[in-house]
Subunit: 499 residues, 4 copies
């Protein structure tokens, strides 16, 4: 057995001419890989000659080094006792965060999905929060996603027998307890050391489908391994320029039991998210699928780098090929107007997800719920409403949001960030409670709208006039006028007690 | 005469195997009742072996123990001198509240209904305020109720002789001074030790009808006993799964002189109100009608528990039975769309209350005033506008709100929370002044709109275009853009006096 | 010559059985007048036996005592040296105000009408500010008046020769420099010791018409006396229950040269203004025309008292009588819907002022500019647009507001509060500058919209689509959602200088 | 060689009877010029007998004195060592600004155009910031310009091959990299000592056109001299009352290679900008083209003065003359409604810029993007869409804004202030980065909307329903109602750590 390497030896290789790094107690020579690193050389060189584990972990699946670095560059075990512990720069913000963690509310104090977000915002690492919570440009679409549900109001029916309420349904043939699925979100280990497998377990507990992300922190197989026998998973796919890689991924997913293939069509290039960039996370992002060299302009930040493997030439012409390589139902994720939904029907896919990628791609893309309200009447007009399953995602926080989508004709909704926040704040218990809260809300609101089963939900139960007028932005305020107006006040309490 | 029990004896029974509590100087063995308690065991066990009076009082009518606990469990009088006084945990918020009570504005400083709310918010106990003021989910509907009146504007007529203004009217055959009634609200003793009877007295003083709530803190008979001979009361009814109980209640109400039966149809399950839950009140809620066992999932909070007796299977099929058991006019309270109003006419009931339960049930239910604007033109189209009396409740704070409802075709409006706040802040005098303020506003505004009597109010006097566009939510703000804009400023005062 | 009365003698008469007061160095026995005082007894009794001049002055024209108190009650001159000076209660708010007056911006720092309001708000006495600036109920209409102009946008024409711009026009036959007039506002001495005559002088300087208010602090004759020979005044009239008084007033005004009679039709009862009431001014209001006894319910505040003489039975039937008693053109002030404008044309009056009384009467009355946009197309449809002159008032602060009104078809606009604020802050110079600023804005904006004379202004120059949708109130905000959103931030400045 | 003048000699000429000033080390006798100074005498007299360079520089092109002051008044060089250095009044605001400059974020921290504005606001001189950032009246239009883009949302197409994205286009025959040009803005030296030539260099680097302003701080020739051989410039023109001056300017521009003539038609008089006036800059503004005497009313501020040479009689009649004096394509800058666009086509000009002058002229003028949405359908209806090139400017901050304009039919957009802010904060590097950021955004957003070249952009890709309803201003808020509502809160963090 070879003697372990020492920290001193490794520390010599601290530059781009010879660059060694330690990950999980093993040393690697990444000198030649430097120019190929999708996240840029800079972030690796920061750890040249040092232990990079903490930085490496959340953004690379564990099999990354095995898959992408030639065995000859695996230098073997390191005697970690000999590695100098780097003293971290004192960060007052981080100190405050650690203080806040001690004061974290109990899980029982979270009464709705937004509560998890409120907790996560204060207990998550700054860069992790920035990565999860950021959106494109001015984040208008990201906020609109939630906002748009507020334009849709209910027309409930009373005196309907709702003693028994059944809100289970079927998605791509899988029977689920409640019409939502856990949609794919990247880099789960930023929020929790066990990453996406936490969501796998939560989804099983509540009998909902999990969609496995391409850009997961866990490896695909780890996530599938965490699945229970009676559980359904789908695969979210970013299509690689090298179709053979894509084919391998799809076939592997099918062989491992995935029951649906969701091809992301709204991300020919990954969006710029300025909050993320500002948080300093940007230059450290990564991606494990890249096969390309270093012709990416790294000055554009991680978003560009991370997306370098994605094929921007993907087009409708590719759909038949996908249909030919798998028996899984195929769903296009990220469709954003009725024209493309009609084309999807014609292309023979099994479903679409109306989505703007959580507001992370094109700012001023419309909310999925608004697009849904545009799409369904036209599908019904053509008698096509059963030819395809329509899903939506983005902004869903309440069971009333789910009910609105179903009234309008969606088969189900995807929920992403809220479960990440629940997981980041409280782990599996958080995810469990978040899903249970949705079920409780669902049961109550089905009753209150006067529906005892999913089929009872229909367009006459919602008032969508608020969507008709488009997107209004009020006239800019008159600051002088407002400045001189005395707002009315309530009675003033005395300053001294009455005697 | 039996010797009185001592505190020491009772204190031994402080667990779920033997649980005694003191209420109003008498001891009760509630061990067997524990699993049946609609509010859950936890809240009782907190007082096991102790005096529970203060907690018990506001949420149980005084006849509760007689009605629901077998006489054999009534253990007799307690020598209260022997009962240890529990020292209350020091609560700085409560100290501040007590301080504020000393500084309370005089009643004469309240000029409108919202002023009472402003005072109540600062002088009421936190849990009581939370119970009264909370709404469902994000409280969007609760606020919309008030907001919606702001979408309706007046088209007043001038040069109308308004020397004499008469705003009295008739509701279900009762002549009233002004077209509002005191609608049913639960747990009046949270706000005032005399509970709902305060409202009975206020209603008499101003000759308006009081609707008696099922979930009152006072017993039904106490509230009826507080009635003056010339006064009218109605009964609000939650329908029990056990119809024989419901029948008994209805017959009793009719025999005691109630002149209207308002069946709540918007609450097959009582809503979750998160502010209420957060205030810690939730686990202490209660309900005195429950006959069920303990199959309620208590983890869902008091709202679920308190509603366990309500029959979620209540449906249109039950209406003929109600019409058969009483001669009181029947009004469906909580109708929320025109389809159900038409069905109500066909079912032969005498009225409906368009209501969303004060925003406490289904969030994103529309405001009653908006539903009214949808309903009346269709009733008139069919010539049905006189076949049924239409009432609305929710969000009414000004006489202008009442006038808007009447212009659109309502027979009258229900007002709930404002009188609770007036009562909680200033007792009967507060309720009296609140009603007088509405009368003063009513007289003035009838004059200003150019109407000398209720019949003069008509749809041409209101501009309802603001309702047509549905519910708009403006585009999310551009925070970067706003952040860099310098708002205009008014002239700056000098820093030093001019010499 | 009678010896002067002493303070000691007068001080004995300090109760309602014998009540003497000093006004401007003379004593009066008002014992018998007490029950008739329109502002209630309370305010007089506060000064019983004392000097009431300071309180009396701003709210009673100087001829009040001569006109309304029998000569026998005029007790003669007082030796003011013998009258005890009352030490005023120390009022920290008043101290702060006096401090602010020393720091008042120079007049040259006021660049627009709102600037005067900003200064007035800080230098006026609290009660005076409250009286001028308050509106009805929630002051929604008061703010909407200004707001509504923001719904109207311009469609300017370019490449029009605007070297010479002439914005003079004609109102009721009077040639004026600019299409606004000084509308009638009550109690001018609250803002300036010389009261309404300051406005008379300002109006002359800029050749615009002044409308003389019934409820002026100066007497009618004082205001007319302040007029220059070439100057035009109109009379605003509250119609008295006793028509002989009204007739006398109208005939007197005509004989003194008034050129227009503006009958207020939107105030059968004067509005409640809660800010005013809260400021403690309410119980001190007054009115000098009252002839009635004390059957007014004083508990309703000054607004009710002050309006007791106004005839709420005034109706369309009275119009022919007005036309018969004067040759002055008659204008109805306060019309609020197209139906009443048409009726006014039929009644043969010469004009109407679309107005909601500055938002001081019926809350949720629509803005005049909105009513104008409703009225003119219908008048034009009937070919009646020249049968009557249409004016508007309320919320006008900029020349662009005036231009909008004229584009839509108004003959001119009334401006009230802004000149009061200019007068209160800077006296006549303030009024002069305020009017000059409007002229400067007018010249510039006529040029910029592409109009060289008033006749060039037409409806195609404005975009009024913002008025069509009625009054929208956005969906209540989602406070949880807003609470967890991180607004985007601009680059952060470093904390330490770069070295 | 003449001996240098001394400070003492010059200091004697410190009044309007003999007024000498020093500029860039030379003395000038401006006594006779005083009444002609377009910015008024006051500002010159402030520097009588002193060194005026610092004040003079940013607002006068360097050739001003040569051009407008007779050689006989050029007194020769001054021995600057003999000139007393004036001690500047201590200005705490200025001190703070200088402090902020030391802490300025690095250029790399600016991720979008608004970031430069945020930095500029804090590092620019107060008067310079006020001049650049101010708008007309209440600055409603200025803010609306940006706001209006938020009413337009995208309808992106997916599965389009966007591997190669080409967003270059052609403007007035010039091939440019990206469809924006640097529009004309006045007084560049307020922001940077090298003034407009910084923009010239930036424009060259990114291959976009620069429009040269009439009111530049640099002389026209300096700006042209800074041009690279392959670079295109246009001329922005304020038309002088003296057409011979205008003709000379146009001919000179053409001879120096300008490729387009943009005649400003929205400024017959330069707007009042109150923020600018309030910042004290107003009385120091200037203009170098003035030939007029002193009949300008200086009390109106610099805006009036500076615009005195502009011909307010310019009209459609003048267009043929312009077409006759130059071969440059002529574009009307500042058109604001469809009627005038049609007229422009008929007049035979080559283009129009829909613009409201950056919100600096007529407040409540509509945004260019809104006018564009009105104009294009009517041009297309007539088949005129290719007869003229339509540009817009105002409020553009993101590539998505550019894409919206191009989808609707604009040929390109003008961007002004953002480059001034980038230049003022970071000089040429700032301008370079600002342009690069737009290119990066452009490439990404072209991909995300599904367009690989400019021609792919079309009206079906945008949802403009938000523009249809006109300009809505929500109902004024109910301050009492808001005041008593408890916003919902997220879970509260504990005050003490859990043990």
């Amino acid at each position: 057995m070879a003697p372990k390497l020492t920290g001193a030896e490794i520390a010599k290789h601290d530059n781009k001419d010879s660059c060694w790094v330690i990950v999980h107690g093993k040393a690697y020579d990444v000198t030649e890989f430097l120019p190929e690193h999708p996240g840029g050389q800079k972030i690796i060189l920061k750890y040249a000659g040092k232990d990079a584990t903490e930085e490496f972990d959340p953004i690379h699946p564990p099999d990354t080094l095995d898959k992408y670095l030639d065995k000859s560059k695996h230098l073997g075990e390191v005697d970690m006792k000999t590695v100098e512990q780097e003293e971290k720069a004192h960060d007052p913000e981080e100190d405050e965060r650690l203080e806040r963690i001690k004061l974290k509310p109990s899980l029982a104090q979270c009464y709705n999905l937004l509560d998890f977000e409120a907790v996560a915002r204060r207990v998550m690492k700054k860069t992790a929060w920035a990565y999860y919570s950021s959106g494109a440009d001015d984040e208008i679409t990201m906020r609109e996603n939630h906002n748009a549900f507020h334009k849709i109001w209910f027309r409930p029916r009373v005196l309907v027998d709702v003693e028994k309420v059944d809100y289970s349904t079927t998605m791509l043939g899988t029977k689920v307890d409640i019409p939502f699925y856990v949609t794919a979100t990247a880099l789960g280990k930023l929020g929790h050391p066990e990453g996406e497998t936490v969501l796998t377990k939560g989804a099983h507990k509540h009998n909902v489908v999990q969609m496995i992300p391409t850009l997961a922190s866990c490896s695909f197989d780890e996530i599938v391994d965490a699945r229970q026998p009676d559980q359904t998973q789908w695969l979210q796919l970013y299509v690689n320029k090298d179709r053979s890689i894509t084919k391998r991924i799809v076939e592997h997913a099918e062989s491992r039991g995935c029951k649906g293939l969701f091809i992301t069509v709204d991300a020919p290039q990954l969006g710029r998210r300025e909050k993320d960039m500002r948080s300093k996370f940007s230059d450290e992002g990564s991606n494990v699928q890249s096969t390309s060299g270093d012709n990416v302009d790294r000055s554009q930040g991680a978003a560009r780098a991370i997306s370098s493997f994605i094929d921007p030439s993907l087009s409708w012409k590719d759909i038949p090929w996908f249909l030919s390589i798998t028996k899984m139902p195929i769903v296009l994720k990220g469709v954003q107007c009725v024209e493309d939904v009609l084309r999807a029907v014609e292309a023979g896919v099994h479903g679409v997800v109306l989505s703007n990628h959580g507001g992370r791609q094109l700012d001023f893309a419309r909310s999925a719920i608004e697009v849904l309200a545009e799409v369904m009447p036209i599908l019904r007009e053509r008698g096509w409403e059963n030819k395809i399953e329509i899903y939506i995602d983005g902004g869903i926080r309440r069971a009333t949001d789910i009910i609105k989508a179903l009234c309008l004709g969606a088969k189900g909704v995807g929920i992403g960030r809220p479960f990440l926040y629940a997981m980041s704040s409280y782990g599996l218990e958080g995810v469990d409670r978040a899903m249970q809260l949705l079920k409780d809300e669902m049961e109550m609101n089905m009753r209150l709208i006067g529906a005892s089963k999913i089929e009872d939900l229909n367009p006459s139960m919602v008032d969508v006039r608020g969507l008709v007028g488009g997107h209004n932005a009020p006239v800019p305020s008159d600051t002088l006028g407002m400045g001189v107006y005395d707002p009315l006040v309530s009675p003033r309490f005395n300053e001294k007690p009455k005697l």
